[in-house]
Each structure stands twice: as C-alpha cells, then as structure tokens.
Subunit: 251 residues, 6 copies
C-alpha cells in the first residue's frame, strides 16, 4: 500500500460502536480503495454484553465473543481492526492508554479520524474514548513525544493534522450532537448492513439503524436541495466536524 493512500482511523470505545455509528463511512472509504483502521479501546465486555452475563459466561469468554464479532464486522467493511483491551465500564482515561494510542496514530498515519462525541450522559466510556482520541492526536504531532515504551527516536513519523469527525451517539440531542456534516452512504449501506448482521446479539438494532440511515438520508436530500439528482432513497450518516474545515472552494 503506497505511502499516500488515504487512511481512515476509527477510535471506538467498545467493540461494536464502529459498526452502528460509522459503518457507512468506513465502507465508503474502503470501496474507494482507501485504508481503514479501527481501534477498539475495550471489548465492551462489562457494559454492553448483558445477554452473555445473564447466561453466566465468564469474562474471558465474553471478551473472546465480542472480539470475534468485531473482527467479522470489520472484515465485512473491508477494514483492519485492533484491540487495546483497556477495560470498560468504566473505560478509564489514563496517560498510559493515551500513549498507546499515540503509537497507533503514528503507525496508521491517518488522513481522517472518527470517534465518539465529547458528551454522552448515558455512557461515560464514549466521552472518555473521545477525550483520549483527541489528546493522542495532538501528542502524536509532536516530535518530542516518545514511543509508549519510552524509547527514542519514535518508531514512526509524527502525524499531520487530520480532521476529526464525531459519529452519532444513541441519543443525539441529549449528547449535544448537532451534525454539521451529512454523509451520503447510499452505495456503502449494503456493506454496513452486512457488518451489522455480524452482531447477532443485537438483532433488534439492525432495523433500528437502517431506519436511522433513512432519516439521515432525508436530511441529506433536504440540505442538498432538489437539484442534486440524488436517488429516491438516499441513506445517510451524521457527523460533527471538530476542527474547522480547510478548503479552497466554498461549496
């Protein structure tokens, strides 16, 4: 893969988040021939695996199940995936964890970053993941920041200033999520659906997130105007751009 391939880095608090919230953007990127790297900070083993706990499964087995599902879903999206196994409920914001993320950033050299928004009253792990993703991105830009094992010089190049987009939380208004980017994922949606179906324990979510894609698609059309020639059923995902857009054309 050439050095100049655009690369999408997705920082996900739990093993399933990247599928529901950013599956369309990931599939769209890989369908364009770009690279997509997903990093799951935890497996969601405590906070998002209620059905397995009810069945009395032990912690290690639950983690293995969640990991296998996430690997399948990433494969369906054409993405690489890695796991930092930092623990969840709570996912603790800690310097060591951030430093590991710095390594990931430098290794992946992302041109675009996706993560959770900074506020979620229903799930503190999501906000912790966002804070760590943002801090690591700034640290990874500095030549003076060492590798996570303390060694120097850094194994990989420092990074540039990739734009960051927050993906949609479960209750957007309560999480102060005001989308400023609506992404058309019509062509990519079949892959997202396929990835969702890799998560059988949450079967009721498949339809829920398909309907959300329809609703965001209506907004894509409404904001693009009638003249854009979009297909009748446009499917969308909503994002919040964190840093200002840099461009040479207003459009």
């Amino acid at each position: 893969m050439a050095e100049s391939t655009p690369t999408l880095l997705v920082v996900s608090a739990h093993a399933g988040d990247f599928v529901w919230r950013a599956g369309g953007a990931i599939a769209a990127a890989t369908m364009r021939g770009e690279r997509a790297v997903v990093v799951c900070l935890s497996y969601g083993e405590r906070g998002e695996s209620a059905s397995q706990w009810l069945q009395g499964k032990p912690l290690d087995e639950i983690k293995a199940i969640r990991r296998a599902e996430a690997e399948d879903a990433a494969a369906a999206l054409g993405a690489e995936v890695e796991f930092l196994d930092l623990g969840d409920y709570p996912l603790i914001e800690a310097p060591e964890a951030i430093q590991k993320l710095v390594d990931v950033y430098r290794r992946a050299q992302p041109t675009v970053v996706l993560t959770h928004p900074l506020s979620d009253p229903y799930n503190g792990d999501h906000a912790a993941a966002a804070r760590m993703a943002l801090q690591a991105r700034v640290l990874a830009q500095a030549i003076g920041v060492a590798n996570s094992d303390g060694s120097f010089p850094t194994k990989d190049e420092i990074i540039g200033a990739p734009p960051v987009f927050f993906f949609e939380p479960h209750q957007p208004e309560q999480s102060d999520f005001k989308p400023n980017v609506l992404l058309d994922v019509t062509a990519a949606f079949p892959l997202k659906r396929k990835a969702m179906e890799c998560l059988p324990a949450q079967k009721h979510m498949w339809e829920y997130y398909t309907q959300l894609a329809i609703r965001r698609g209506v907004q894509v059309k409404r904001n693009a105007g009638p003249n854009l020639g979009l297909p009748h059923e446009t499917l969308g995902e909503a994002y919040m751009r964190y840093y200002p857009q840099v461009t040479d054309v207003l459009e």
Copy 2:
C-alpha cells in the same frame, strides 16, 4: 453563460461589506470561471460614510459615491453588483424587502450564498441583512410564493437549497463568530487587495484586512497540518457554514 455555471450570491448590508469580508471568496470563484453576483441592500450612506457627512455632502451625493466605489470594487473582483437601496442605519427588516430578495435569488439561481452572521452587537444592519437573506432563500424555494409584484407564475425558477456561509464580522468573538470553514485565498488575494484599493476613504483598512488574511492563513496551515504542501505565506478568509455540509467523502 450555461445554465449549469456555479453562481455565488453575496448579500451585503452596505456597499463595502462584501469587499473586506468576502473579497477573496468572490475573486476565487470568478477566477475559476464561475459567476458572482453581489447584492448591496443599502449604500451604507448613513452609518458608514462619516467622512462624507463631515464634509457636508448631501445624501444623494454620498449614495452615488458609495455606489461608484462598490461598482469599481465588484469589477475588480470580476463580479456583477446590484443595489436595492433599502436605506441603512437602520436597515429595516421588512416583508417587501425580503420579497425583492426572493426575486434576486430566483434570477441568480445561486449554488452558494454568502452573507453576514446573525449577531453583531456593533451593527444591527448586519444582522438584519442576514435575517433577510436567510428568509428570502427559504421563500425562493417555494413554488407558491409569487413574484415581488404579486404576479404569477414566477418569472424565474424556484431555487434549490444552496449552502449559506457567514463571512467574518469586524469583532468576531463578540459576534459569536466561530469559524468552521477556513478558505485558502492565497491565489485570489491580489484581486481582493485591488478591490480594497477601490475604497479610498478607508485606506487604513487595506493593511488591516491584509493582516487579517495573514492571520487566517496561519490558521489554514495549522488546521491543514504540515503535510499539505501549502505555500509559506498562505492567506485566508474565515466562514461559518449555517446548514450542515452534504458530502459523500469525509475529508
């Protein structure tokens, strides 16, 4: 000019606003071969012509001076300009004025709209212009809204949903102006400078707005990252996108 030429519509409260605040975006558009239409709601004859009033000039002469300057500046930018002569200080938000703007929208068929932000504690005319620009845009989309003379059917087609960008006010923080788009105007800046020099009464502003372009240019580079290969002296203009961006690529 073919029907499909992109068209930039700039709604300016006074005769000079479009030069200082959006001259780079206008010149960049016309340099790409696009059409740019500036509509000045007033000449700025009362509120922004202090030196002429001090010289005791009559109202009509002041208006003529400001109009001529604006025409020269628009020409320097490669833009068309028209004047609604609605009066300033105060520029009054009124249904008739909005209706005239509806005609302008439908005649121009803009693909992008620029105007003032909705808040400016130092100049109520700017906010009034923004409110009217936004209302007219929505009305111009409706097939049931008549021409400004009440006739039907409408002389021109209804419009789509062009994106709206607010340009930078004089005191950005006080006007709740948080830019989410930084426009690289390096190549277009010589034309902007030429247009500024068409406004001789405000000679001290030439350098002021050149310095602002440098400062916004630093932010262009800072937000784009070191890898983008931008020239050493990048010049910028700051904008606030009002509606969410519609796109099929996150970048």
Copy 3:
C-alpha cells in the same frame, strides 16, 4: 363541558403541523376526556402545498383543500380546530395577529399549550408562530389588555400560567431542539396514524413519522429504566418544556 376540564391549546403555523408533531399528545388528551383546541395560523397554502401549485390550482382552492384536510385530521384526534388565515411564506409576526391569539387564549382557557420551537433554520414561519404564541400567552394574562377589537372589558377571563411545550421540528438538532420531556403515546398512536392518513398528499410521511415514534419510544424506555413495565413496542413524542415545571413531587 365543565369549567374545570383540562384544555390543551395547540398553536400550529400551518394546517398540517399539529398532526405530524403533536398528534399523539392531542389524542392522548381527548382520550382522557380533556378538551383539545387547535388553532392554525395559516393553511400552509404557499409554503407547504407544492403538489397543488404544480397542478395549477388557484390559491382559494388550495386553502380550501388544506382546511378540509386539517378539519378531518382534527376530528380524527377528537380536537376542535380553528383557522386565523394569517397567510404563510412568510407568516408575519404582527401585533394584530398576536392580539387575535390573545382572544383565542382567553376563550379556550388552556391548561397546557403546545407550539413550535423558537428556532428552525428551514422554516421561518414555525419560529414566527412560536414567538406569537408566547407573546399572546403573556398578554392574555393581563387584565389591562383589551379584546382584539379594542373593546373593554374583556369578553373572557384572563388566563393563568399554563405550561408551554415545544413539539418536534423536522430537523431537531439543527433547530436546537433538545427534548426534556418524552411522552409515551403508545395508546394514542392509532388515532395519530388515522389523523396522518387524512393528509393524502404527504403519504410518504406516514411511515416516516411512525418510525420517528418508534425511535422516540426507544428513548422513552431507555430513560424510564427497565423496571417500568413498558410494553415491548413503546411509541413516543418528544417535547421541550419552556418554563420550569412546578411540582410537589420529584419523579
């Protein structure tokens, strides 16, 4: 109807708004034996009747069609409806219109008021309706404010301080709509669906708003907790309370 019957007053900018956005709350009230009064400030004849304009129908016929539909929908919900015919696109905020609403408030003696939220970047009429509804509510409380024809004493009693709830706009996040009340409308939804089906020109919206009810219902359950014994498929509507809730129990 006894003086003490609770009365819901719904102030709707256009003839259809109350159905999509508040139909569940209205039906729930009338199913409890309460009175519901809908006042449509306009018929939505210009801004929300595109298909009729495309068919070349004259203005009066369009207004009559919209009125008949709204009457049918109100009947389906068990509500009274009246029309102020103030014109739309734009619906103009004017003292005379507000004064007419004062009469409505005093005649209806509402115990609860529903209207649009104060911000909607896609439709200025909605915000204008909200501003008028709020102003009229305050004026109707004052014994010194005359009837709309200038006569004294007032034909009806002044009103108390009924709570005001904003119903959901089409693009909630863009309209700064952060719900602080989630209403369970499971039992009332069949009547809402029936009312929606009184609006045949917008058939594609029937399913859209049914899906929205499902999504808001998920949030009802999520915010109520697993212990509340809600039915599997709970349906909801989202509201924003404008004034603080007054209560003698925190719950």
Copy 4:
C-alpha cells in the same frame, strides 16, 4: 419496608450540603412515607470547617463534629445517612470511589437521585461529586460490573434508570444552574428549618436559606399561575432535571 417503596438517594459532597440544598425535597419524601438515603462523600473537614480549624481542633475531632451534625440533620429530615469519608478539598474523582458508590446505588435501589450540578467555579468538590454520582449510576445499571471488592455475582440487583435532579448551588447563575423544576416545599419546610438548626456553626445561613425558599416560592407561584390555589406564602426549592422526563401526560 416493602420492595416497592420509593427511595430518594442524595449524593452530597460534604456533610452539610444536603441540608441547605435539598432538605425540603428530602423531608417531603419522608413525610409521604418514602425512604430517603443520604450519602456524604466527605465530612467537609478541610474546606467547610473554618471555624473549627481556627479553634485549633485536630482533624479527627473536626470530622466527628461534622458527622454528628449531619446525623442530627438527617434524623430531623427522617432520612438515613452514611459517610464514605473520601476526603475533601480536594474531593478526588477516582475509580475506587465511584465503585463504592455503585454499591450504594445497588443497595439503595433509588427511584430518584439528587446531587450537585456539574459546574461550580467556587467549589471543585461539588462538581467532582456530581461526576461520580452520574458515573456510578450508569455503572450500577450494568450486570457485568462487579461489586467494589471485585466479587461476583453482585450482592444486590442492578438498578433501573432513576431520574437525576441537581440541587441549587450557592451562586446559581455562575454555576450555569438554570432550574427546570420548581418544587413546592411549603409543608416540608418546618423540618428543613429544624435540620438547618442542627448546624450551629453556620447560624447565619438559617435565615439566608429561609429567604431563598421564599424567593423560590415566589417563582413557584409565578410559574404555576394564579389559578392553582397555592397558599400566600409558598416556599420552594429549585432543581435541574438532567435526563428528559418520561411521562404519559403533559402538564
């Protein structure tokens, strides 16, 4: 006490906070026969015991004094009280402390939670308490989260989704405290006054908080309207609801 008794859980940073800020709500609950459990994260031994330090008392004695006062005040309100002794000034937000609170939540099975608001520029402990109270509530809902000693299965049931209300800080506007619930505590106020009088070191506060109750009571009446038949002197407490209210009646 039956399983279904409503239970109020109050998370208080220091030993006295629950009295001044939520005494009315607590007394109202116990007067209705409900259970109220107060958990004091610290005794306020360093930051809110200036007079004892000036008298040269040792730390342990100060803690004992504050504890005894809080026990008396809780008894006056009819509430249970426990102390986590986490230290104050600063009260440090830490995973272990949050985990202890998870145990409290599961043991108490609250139907309503009261705590500090998330912002207080004058006292960082208050915000830290709020953050811990909110995190513990979410963790206590997850079956996969262990007891604070790491054992499994959990000693008590997981909890539902009790509503959370922030009580009033000392300088409400500076703490971004915009009340959306005004609680009528007229009947409960004598017990609150009695509880306040259990805190003799802050005698000047008795009258201060009585006056605040009068002022909030005026707002209770103002927001309830003249028709509600409230007593002449209504006494109130102000709260901010954190999650949306779930209801089947708008009122």
Copy 5:
C-alpha cells in the same frame, strides 16, 4: 452642570422597572455628584397595573398614577425622568420609537447605559426595550443619522461608545442572566428603599428586593474575598456587561 459630568442613562420598559432593578446604581451615581437620566418607554399601564384595572380605573388615570409614582421615585434617587409613552403589553419595537431614543441619547450624552437584558420569557416588553436601547445607541453614534423629525444637522452631538449594563430581571436564571458585575450599593441602599416606598401598590416587593440586595451582597463579599474590608452587611445589585470592558488595569 459641566459638559464632562458623568451621566447615567437608564432605559426602562415600564414606569417602575428602574426602581427595583437599578435603584442602587442610580442613587450611587447621584450621590457621587453625577447626573442620572431615566427614560420610561411606557407607564406599564396595561401589563403592570392590575390592581388599578381591578378597581375599574380608566386608562388615562392609570397612566397618570404610574407617572406620578415614577416621578417621586426618580426624585428620591436624585434622577431626572422622562416618559416616551409608547404603550405597553405589548411595547412594540418600531423604527419611530428607536429614533426618539436616538434623540434622548444625543441629548443626554450618557457615559454609562443601563437597560433590561435581551431575554425574558415572562415579559416581552423587557426584551423589546433592550433591543431598542441597543439599536438607538448604535444609531446615535452615526453622524449621518438625522434627528427624529428628519431634520439636519443633528441638534445634539453624536455620542461615543458608552458601556451598557443589563440590570437584573425578576427570574434571572430563566432569562439567561449570568451576572458578570456585582455592584456594592451598601451606601446607596437607603435611597433605593425610599424610592421603592414611592410605589405603594407593590408594597410586598419592598421586602423582596431588600432581601435580594442582601443575597447579592453576600455574593459581592464572596467574590471580593475576605481581605477587602467590606462591612458585615454588604448590599448588592447584579449586572451583565454587554460590551467588553476597556481598562488599563486588570483588577
């Protein structure tokens, strides 16, 4: 009175507002030998004179009563007062009214301006007064803006850029009133109390606003620190500065 005497201009929606909300600042100014000019936009004849309407008094008599009371209160504060009689409930924001205020500004040449905050969900007149006060201030700065009768040159000099302070509304948090200036009015308070007692119809407010002064005084002390040597009972008024403070010392 010398040209350079500092002058306080108070723009009050109704005849009584300046007393309750800014009486301390006014008295403090006149006690320093400065000039204070109060302009009442209306008498509050419809919205704030319920007891007179209940007694069946005619409009003109009510206006005369309110005017006399306001004149007495202004005299007690050492202030001049004038009345624009623009009508209340609603007080309508209109170009002609604003133009009259422009004359007042130029005649008074204020060095400081006080008015209502821009938001008040309980009283639209207050926000309308604030909007007009702010617009008139900007217009009065422009040499090209004529006298209110259209004549030129302007009878009085244009004004500078006096700072604007919003005084406290009845329900501060609901009106987004976050004070950033706490004014010590201890010495001036006896005059404020005397002015309040000129308004006999609202006797219950005398004590209410005395208690508010005590509460704001506690905040004066809390924000000034223990070292400032303030008297035991400090009395305060709260303000919001609208434009940034200009200073050559940070303190």
Copy 6:
C-alpha cells in the same frame, strides 16, 4: 516589599506562554511598581521545542534552554519566575501538582491571577494548566488545607479571592474565547516586544503578536468610543474574566 503591594500571579503551562499571551499585562503591572510572579508548570520541552528536537538535542539540554529563555523574558518584563517542572505533552492534572500550586498561591498572595482559558482543542496542556490553577486557588483559600508536604499549620497565610483572567489562546474562536476585558497595553508594549525577542527560536511570532496587539488595540478604541482620547496607535491584549467583577462604580 510591603505586604500590601498588589501582586500578579501568572500560571503558564509552558515556558513561553506568559510572554506571548500576557506580556503586556505583566509589564504594565511592574511598571506601576507592582509585583509579578510567573509560575511555569513545565518547560514546554516536548510539545513546544520542535526545532531543538530536530537538532537532536537531549531532553535536559532542551529544558535548560527553555528555562534560560523564560528567565530572560521574565526579567525583561520585570517579573519573578519559577518552574514546577511537571512535564508537558501531556501536562497531567494531578493532586500533587495542584498541591504545589497551593503553596505558590499562599507564598505569592496574589491580588490578580492570569492563566489559560479552559478550552483549547489544539493543546490539552493549556486547559490542564487552567484547571489546576483554578483548583489550587480555591484550595489555597481554605485554612484546613495543609502544605504540600502535609505539614501544619500552613507556612503562609490563606489567600483571599483574587480575580482570575484567562489570556488569549492561539485560535481564540475555536477555544470559545470571548473576551470581556480589553486591556490597553500601549505604554507597556515595548517591554513585551523586548521579552518576545528573548525567544529567538520563534522569531516569526514577534511580528505575529505585534499585529495581534494592533488588532486588539483597534477593539480597545472601538469599545471605548471616540471620546476617550486614546492615542492613534493603541495596542491591546484580550482577556476573559472568570468570576464576576466586584465594583462600586459601573463604568
């Protein structure tokens, strides 16, 4: 130096921040004969020393270089400087670090405090420094909080409630920096320029921050009004006051 000398305390995340952002305020204070104490939490050795790292210098040498530069710059401003050497990129918010700052506060007895604003999406260290500066200020007020080595009684007196001002970040709008104080630093600017020139590695910043001073100076004049007799070229610095201003004159 007498006990009553006003003292400015500046809490700076890195060794250079106080120069660019607050050099004018510091010089103005020392020129008035006041004391100024700068505390640098780190040397900026990792995050703000890219050119030294590129030259392959070791960590200790980089720290020594930055320290020497900061000492020179402080001397140019007439200020004392000390270094806590807490490390940067990331600067970690920790109880021990805060406790050391408590000692600094009590030793310095500041009458005014300057630090970074609470938000900076480009540099997490700045926000961490602000949070620690604010927490330490509150802790230093409490007689019950020990010295940082745990000993009692405290070596120095507790402090009062000095006002806190945030100085300007590099990208103000992105950092939610809305200045409410504009400081005239015209007379002090030559010293600030001299201090900037003590930082040779960032020579391109000298002109950048000189231009910023001009721009803020324009705002000083614009907000002060034409009558204030300010010099033609006024130079300024922008600040955000965190706590409300306490005053006995509105001006």
